[in-house]
């Protein structure tokens, strides 16, 4: 037998696990009997009524095919395609996320460069950071008076901390030798920042950005359940109210897939900035 590469063996194992899992899921869910097969007694005791059971994977796959073949239809406020819902969620996440990045990265830079700023701001960061982003929701709704903007604010507030802390940490930890190289070559403050400190701290900064986007994607689902209207979080909750478990399971899977894609984007960025000493 020829040796297979680790990747190949892992892929085969993954497929086996997926197949076995789906088979098990399908097998443990009892099928619904057709009305014609019921005994009279069963019919009298309401056995013919639809049981709100967990749907088997075959139904979920069918649903996925249905939804993904027409992801952008819009048939009114409560009936939009999965593509539109995910689009709204991604828009909110990116809007809040980029606002956070625009503030967190320059501010983190300053904090990292100045030990005084680091010490002065640290207590605020430590208190604000552990607050669940959803706890800000009532205050945001009251002050901003707009549910859409409030959702973006919640994303902003949850994604700012990892970026801020990692940027400050990365900048503060730049090797003194590299800063000395900049100094002995008479690089100005701006050129030192862009030519030496930014590339030196970039891996740490991008790690912070990657953590932030992950948190933002976790939080948007919960925020949209509260805010309502549109988005994948709202979709999940709406389908739960419709008792359409098939759609709920399908959208849970979609949340996972989109989250993975967002993370992979930052994985690529990380490979681009990483260096070894």
């Amino acid at each position: 037998m020829t040796e297979m590469s680790v990747n190949k063996r892992a892929a085969i194992l993954s497929f086996i696990l997926l197949f076995a899992g789906l088979l098990l899921w399908e097998a443990v869910i009892p099928g619904q009997k057709a009305v014609g097969e019921l005994t009279e007694y069963e019919r009298l005791t309401g056995g013919g009524a639809q049981k709100a059971g967990v749907p088997p994977p075959s139904q979920v796959l069918q649903k996925a095919w249905e939804q993904l073949s027409n992801p952008f239809y819009d048939a009114g406020p409560n009936d939009k395609g999965i593509g539109i819902q995910i689009g709204y969620s991604i828009y909110r996440v990116l809007a809040g996320y980029f606002l956070a990045a625009v503030i967190a990265i320059p501010l983190g830079f300053l904090i990292g460069m100045s030990p005084v700023a680091y010490k002065a701001l640290n207590p605020f960061i430590q208190v604000l950071r552990p607050i669940s982003p959803l706890a800000w929701m009532p205050l945001a709704l009251f002050i901003i008076q707009d549910s859409e903007a409030s959702a973006i604010f919640v994303i902003f507030i949850c994604s700012i901390w990892p970026m801020l802390i990692n940027t400050a940490f990365g900048v503060a930890g730049v090797r003194k030798d590299w800063v000395n190289v900049a100094r002995t070559h008479e690089l100005g403050a701006l050129r030192t920042a862009f030519m030496v400190i930014l590339p030196a701290a970039a891996p740490t900064i991008v790690t912070g950005m990657r953590i932030s986007i992950g948190i933002a994607w976790l939080v948007i689902v919960a925020a949209e359940m509260l805010v309502g209207g549109t988005g994948i979080g709202y979709y999940v909750w709406n389908e739960w109210n419709n008792l359409d478990l098939t759609s709920v399971i399908f959208s849970i899977l979609m949340i996972g897939v989109v989250g993975m894609a967002l993370d992979a984007m930052f994985g690529v960025l990380q490979r681009f900035v990483v260096y070894s000493e």
Binding site: W178, N180, V181, T184, H185, E186, A202, Y275, S276
Partner: protein, 293 residues
């Protein structure tokens, strides 16, 4: 007495000792370096060699005293003083070539991209690097190659003073030998003033015009200035056969082994200038004669 190209005057460095007092690393150190001279400083750990180097580079400030180079006081780092650090200090996210071009571009901002590139490549070739390693990152280079890049970077900006802080300390003996040869070759063509720290006596004799010997700290001093009376061009194999080689070497070993301890401690002198030591066995009067400058 004319003022030398680089003049170090009454340099002292003190640190708080953690108990409210002060530790004096060295005190009232004065010495000069002439233009085009290759000066090596030798001394035990803790005598403040690296501190002196950092002060010359402008990366640290002395507690007292001044450094005057070419008529101007040294304050802060400058492109006039190039530094090669022991740990190479290459920027790891840039290729070998880019590590040089960024320095050249900083030194000659008016140059075109092509000029910068050509100048950088020329210097990398001068230290014996071939074009196929130009685009490698420092992590993909051996220690010796990294230090070559670092030396190429320092020479490429033609500083008025080149500072070498134990440049070969992290290299194995064989690599050290070849890079010493490269350094001598590159240096010979430039008339570059060099100030170098080392722990290696043989390396010092091979490279230097003059060796400054430091006594042990605290209260370290630049005690002696030993002239290397061996003609250039030198070569590591032939140099040991020169009649002055072992005489000088013995003197240095004696100093580092014995006198550096005897001389340790504070002195009353307001200025400590090194004694000039001239050892020359090729002359008829072969006794070492010590002369104060």
């Amino acid at each position: 007495m004319t003022t030398p190209f680089l003049s170090v005057e009454r340099l002292s460095q003190r640190y708080p000792d953690g108990e409210g007092g002060q530790t004096t690393i060295f005190e009232n150190a004065s010495f000069g370096i002439e233009r085009g001279e290759f000066v090596v400083i030798l001394g035990h750990s803790g005598c403040g060699k690296s501190t002196i180097m950092n002060i010359l580079a402008g990366l640290a400030e002395a507690s007292e005293g001044v450094v005057i180079m070419d008529g101007k006081e040294v304050s802060g780092p400058s492109l006039d003083r190039g530094v090669v650090f022991q740990n190479y200090s290459l920027l790891p996210w840039l290729s070998a070539l880019k590590n040089v071009t960024f320095a050249v571009a900083a030194r000659y901002p008016e140059w075109s991209k092509d000029q910068v590139l050509a100048h950088s490549k020329k210097h990398l070739e001068m230290v014996g690097l071939s074009a196929d390693v130009f685009n490698r990152k420092p992590s993909q280079l051996s220690g010796g190659m990294r230090q070559r890049v670092s030396i190429a970077r320092a020479f490429s900006i033609s500083p008025k003073l080149l500072l070498l802080d134990e440049p070969f300390g992290a290299l194995d003996a064989l690599t050290r030998g070849t890079i010493q040869d490269e350094l001598l070759k590159v240096w010979a063509g430039t008339n570059q003033t060099v100030f170098m720290i080392t722990h290696d006596i043989d390396e010092a004799i091979l490279l230097a015009d003059r060796i400054l010997l430091m006594s042990n700290g605290p209260y370290a001093r630049v005690a002696e200035s030993v002239e290397i009376t061996i003609p250039r061009p030198r070569n590591r194999i032939e140099i040991v056969e020169h009649p002055n080689y072992y005489a000088i070497r013995n003197h240095l070993v004696q100093f580092l082994g014995k006198h550096s301890k005897v001389l340790a401690g504070p002195t009353d002198a307001s200025e400590n200038r090194p004694l000039t030591v001239h050892i020359d066995k090729t002359m008829p009067a072969s006794t070492p004669n010590k002369l104060a400058v």
